[in-house]
Amino acid sequence: MRTEEKGRLTSRLLVILSKGTMDMVYPALMIATTGATMGKEVHMFFTFWGMNAVNKKTVNSMKVASVGNPGLPMPNILGMIPGMTAMATKMMNGRMKKAKIQSIPEMFRMAKDLGVKLHACSTTMDVMGVPKESLIDEVDDVVGAATMLQLGEGGQIIFI
């Protein structure tokens, strides 16, 4: 189903982010921004750990998990050593920079510039005690699951 927007037919894309590590946040942003460049009506919904991506306190320090991360070529027993998370994160950040990929806060600004709408999950904010003031400026509003489902109506929904 396509929606009318400014007299032009567009398709919808809803990206639901429920995780709070770098390897989850980046794909969500990549998909959302790419969808926007293709003229889609893009919405992002941040729930559970995804809330970390839109919280001023944590958005600048998104990490790579060094334990329980089957994607990382490091055994858990090694990943458990204090400082390993920081090392894995530093390594990943270095790679991103080398590939000329923007930082997560920069990607949020770009997403906003491209017209992506950002929605924070009200239940999550309640459960985790996140006040509205903590949200990054790019967030448009605080809504619940019903609104979110409506935003995905007829379009593509990607759950991360």
Binding site: G7, T33, T37, G39
Partner: protein, 64 residues
């Protein structure tokens, strides 16, 4: 990300304009095709050189 650059050029372009994209990303060719398909723009030419791809796109914009 080639699509980002392409979109930036697209935003300030008019219907019928030609955009030449130079990309080092190997996914540029299929990505640009997908992008063009979505907004009606036409991929006129794809030249694959050593280490980069040159793609010529004709912009299709409604109401411009």
């Amino acid at each position: 990300m080639p699509i980002m650059e392409l979109f930036k050029a697209y935003r300030s372009s008019k219907n019928g304009d030609l955009i030449e994209l130079l990309a080092t990303d190997p996914a540029a060719k299929p990505d640009v095709s997908a992008w063009a398909k979505n907004n009606g723009s036409e991929v006129l030419d794809v030249i694959e050189e050593q280490g980069y791809t040159k793609i010529l796109v004709r912009v299709a914009k409604m109401g411009v």
